[in-house]
């Protein structure tokens, strides 16, 4: 097991290099002169030169690349060009907010969609199955902006059930502001999720072992909840784990509309103000997390699936 993990960790190195290379190519080579962006509005050529030196941009491309890699290795991404804040602090500030929106919303979605998918699996091939399937497809065909605009207007303003927008640094008080965004998040992602999990269950339902279990005299429900669910949980757990790093990216639209100071909003602003250091940092961090979680997922897969054995 240890060797497997080690091997996977080693494999991460070329991928990480690839990620840095792509971000570097994208933002340092193709994307115009970053120093011009960083120097500020009325910068004189001398000032631009000065900024270049500070950012290490006056050197050749390979040296710049090395500088970028060095930054990453030391986990010091410098300061944002736009806000002049240290990027690490911006990320640390935003990550809690993003996660307190996305984690509950994500798990609620997973939980609800698995329940609904099981329900459909039970009624497979019937009208209920078909109807839920079509409803789910319809739900994912609607622009998420429509959900947000409408639900914020209706639930917060018209009915006054929730605050319109806002935030509290206090972990307990913030739920007041988060309830509606979470609800909207779940509504937006539920459809696709249900369809996805439904497929997983459907894949399992026609397996031979299901027939065996039925031949043993187990009831439909027992087969569904014991045999099928247990098998389906293997792909589900691994997929859920893989999807988790995306949670720190928060939700761009929801954060903007509900004043949640998360990373989604931060990325949005960074994109709008060409704040390349922030974008580079976020790209790299999420790629890194993605890989770590991919590894966790693979390890979990080995743990939860008795079929897989490491040599």
């Amino acid at each position: 097991m240890l060797k497997y993990v080690l091997k996977r960790l080693l494999y991460m190195i070329p991928i990480l290099l690839g990620v840095t290379l792509i971000t570097f190519l994208l933002f340092n080579v193709v994307g115009g002169d970053p120093a011009l962006q960083a120097a500020g509005r009325y910068a004189t050529p001398e000032q631009v030169q000065l900024v270049k030196a500070e950012l290490g941009l006056d050197r050749g491309l390979p040296a710049q690349y090395l500088f970028f890699v060095k930054q990453i290795v030391s986990f010091d991404f410098g300061r944002s060009w736009s806000t002049k804040q240290t990027i690490s602090k911006m990320i640390m500030d935003g990550v809690g907010a993003s996660l307190s929106l996305t984690i509950p919303a994500f798990f609620l979605t997973v939980f609800l969609s698995i329940s609904i998918a099981l329900l459909i699996a039970y009624f497979r091939g019937t009208f209920v199955d078909r109807a839920i399937f079509v409803i789910c497809l319809a739900a994912i065909s609607l622009s998420s902006l429509v959900y947000i605009l409408y639900m914020q207007y209706y639930f917060s303003f018209q009915l006054g059930l929730f605050p319109i927008s806002g935030w509290s640094p206090d972990w307990l008080e913030r739920w007041e502001y988060l309830t509606l965004p979470i609800f909207i998040f779940v509504s937006i992602s539920l459809g696709g999720s249900v369809i996805f999990y439904r497929t997983i269950f459907m894949d399992e339902i026609f397996q031979d072992y299901v027939r065996t279990a039925r031949a043993k005299g187990l009831s439909h429900t027992a087969v569904l909840f014991k045999h099928i669910l247990r098998n389906a949980l293997i792909p589900i757990i691994t997929i859920v784990v893989i999807e988790m790093p995306a949670l720190i990216l928060g939700s761009l639209l929801l954060e903007s509309y509900f004043g949640i100071p998360g990373l989604g909003g931060m990325i949005f602003q960074a994109l709008q103000s060409a704040d390349f250091p922030v974008i580079k940092a976020m790209t790299f961090i999420s790629a890194f997390l993605y890989m770590i979680f991919q590894l966790i997922s693979d390890v979990l897969y080995v743990v939860v699936d008795p079929k897989v054995q490491l040599k």
């Binding site: 072992y209 027939r211 039925r214 031949a215 187990l218 247990r230 098998n231 699936d305 079929k307 040599k311």
Partner: protein
């Protein structure tokens, strides 16, 4: 004990309603074994599922009939009542023991599940019982194995676990649906022995479903023969074997090559009945007995293999260095004289397929020599190899996957012609494809069809036609008849023999089925664990096996009902 009356099962398909089982009736007496025999699509498995009421709704439906168990009609029971019967009074084992066991639960758990459900045992009692059951089905050290997962066991052991699970609640009827088809002959014998002993021990009834009459002969007291959803004959086993009444039964009995002796041409179903199932009353002409060609050292050698090996990496280090490898083919040496057939026989995983493909360099051998008419095949470059391909061809096991489903038969046949520039013009090539079709006994009109519009036997004929297109001298038949029903098998074997006679072909015939190999071969090589353990003429192998493994193989073959 169980009476089936007028049972019909219908399936709803895209093409419309389809009757899989048509008004069948038969009884299973207490403590007896009934064999249900038929080829693929005969409705035998559907019958068994119907008895358990496991037909998947809403596509499948039991449309009429009764299944009487101790006087009650199972079809009238509610689902909860039926659940009390399943796994308790009637239980079932299936063909594929790997996929039929739930991969994420231990075997112990899966056995205990039935016990706890039907016998109200607590966990501890159930565990003890499960261990006891594993013991009974012959699993060594059951206390340990009870915690194993299905994938940690061998195929035979898995089937034993399935049996343990099925007999856990001492059912009165055990349905075994092709329980040995996926297993090698040696394992098959063990499982059959186990089933027999358990049956006599518990006095349960057994419904044994198979396509293999020989197996039926070994185990069944009574035989029911099914053909296209109907029962065509039912009788005591001895009667069936001694005097089959229905032409289909007759055909089934005689199609299969025997281990003892065979006619020059095997009988086919068409010799006994026509398409509508009407008996053809014609006396079979007495055919000469097929004799293997005598191989002498003077025969010109077409193909010679020396010390051929092929290994696959099993374990690699982090940096890709091979730490451990498996030898699929281990220093094999062979000689095949021109115009003869070499039979290569062995159980699954013995390396026979790898050997066949290595000879053609479809996979690159690790080491060794292949010389074909004096040419060193191993040394051929790309262009030379292309020319060489014209001489050696291969016919695969599965006619479904060896034809590209997206090419019409004509396209498939034209391809080798185009590559090797056989024929000068397109129209000449097309004429050739028609000739090829005729040669393998197919109507040239079918050329524009896609593979899925053909039956399995017809597809195998197309494969043969494709191999023949480049007019090869040498063909490797890799399990070429194994996937076919016995009635089709005999036709293809006849075709291969005819073609050899007509065109002077040389074959290597690879199979796990000793009787088939015995029929077609002039010499037989027995393979085990990558090595050739014995090589001799067919009669010699059969009558006087030298190697222990060969002996074991021979004794494991079901003999059928010895008259």
């Amino acid at each position: 004990m169980i009476q089936i009356k007028n049972l019909s099962v219908d399936f709803q398909t895209a093409e419309g309603q389809f009757r899989a089982v048509n008004q069948i009736s038969f009884d299973i007496p207490k403590g007896k074994t009934v064999g249900l025999v038929g080829e693929s699509g005969s409705g035998k498995s559907v019958t068994s599922l119907a008895m358990m009421r496991l037909i998947l709704e809403p596509n499948g439906k039991i449309s009429q009939g009764q299944i009487l168990y101790e006087g009650t009609d199972l079809l009238k029971l509610s689902e909860p009542q039926m659940r009390k019967i399943r796994g308790n009074k009637i239980s079932m084992i299936f063909q594929e023991p790997m996929s039929s066991l739930n991969p994420v639960f231990t075997v112990g758990y899966q056995i205990m599940e039935a016990l706890r459900l039907h016998q109200n045992m607590n966990r501890k009692q159930a565990l003890e019982q499960a261990i006891d059951l594993l013991q009974q089905v012959g699993i060594p050290s059951p206390e340990k194995r009870v915690k194993s997962y299905p994938h940690e066991m061998s195929g035979g052991q898995r089937q034993r676990v399935m049996i343990a699970m099925a007999i856990a609640c001492r059912p009165q009827l055990l349905i075994a649906d092709e329980p040995t088809t996926a297993l090698d002959v040696t394992i098959q014998k063990q499982i059959l022995d186990l089933l027999r002993s358990l049956q006599s021990k518990y006095g349960m009834s057994l419904l044994f479903i198979t396509h293999d009459l020989a197996v039926i002969g070994e185990i069944a007291d009574e035989v029911v023969v099914m053909y296209r959803g109907n029962i065509v004959e039912k009788n005591k086993t001895s009667e069936i074997f001694r005097s089959p009444q229905h032409p289909y039964t007759k055909a089934l009995l005689s199609c299969r090559p025997s281990m003892i002796e065979n006619p020059q041409r095997l009988p086919v179903v068409g010799d006994f009945m026509d398409d509508r199932g009407q008996e053809i009353k014609k006396s079979l002409q007495a055919q000469p007995i097929k004799m293997a060609k005598k191989i002498t050292t003077a025969d010109p050698i077409l193909l010679e293999i020396k010390d051929l090996s092929k290994s696959f990496p099993v374990r690699k280090s982090i940096f890709g260095k091979v730490l451990e490898e498996a030898r699929a083919v281990d220093h094999v040496s062979l000689k095949v004289p021109k115009g003869t057939t070499l039979g290569l026989v062995g159980e699954s995983g013995c390396g026979k397929t790898t050997l066949g493909r290595s000879i053609l360099r479809l996979i690159e051998p690790t080491s060794g020599e292949i010389s074909y008419q004096g040419t060193n095949v191993m040394a051929l470059g790309r262009k030379e190899l292309l020319k060489f391909r014209k001489k050696m061809q291969i016919i695969f096991q599965d006619p479904y996957s060896s034809l590209n489903p997206r090419l019409t038969v004509q396209e498939a046949l034209l391809e080798p012609l185009e590559i090797h520039h056989v024929g000068n013009s397109k129209s000449e090539m097309k004429d050739r494809t028609e000739l090829l079709m005729k040669k393998v006994g197919l109507d040239p009109k079918m050329l524009s069809r896609y593979p899925h519009e053909f039956s399995g036997g017809q597809r195998q004929r197309v494969c043969i036609a494709r191999a023949l297109a480049v007019e090869p001298e040498f063909i490797i038949c890799d399990e070429s008849v194994s996937a076919l029903d016995v009635s089709i098998q005999s036709q293809i074997l006849n075709l291969l023999v005819d073609l050899q006679d007509q065109m002077g072909l040389t074959y290597i015939f690879i199979s796990h089925d000793l009787s088939v190999v015995k029929f077609i071969s002039d010499q037989i090589a027995v393979m085990n664990k990558g090595k050739i353990v014995e090589m001799a003429s067919p009669d010699e192998i059969y009558k006087n096996p030298q190697n222990d493994y060969t002996k074991k193989l021979l004794t494991s073959i079901p003999k059928g009902f010895v008259i």
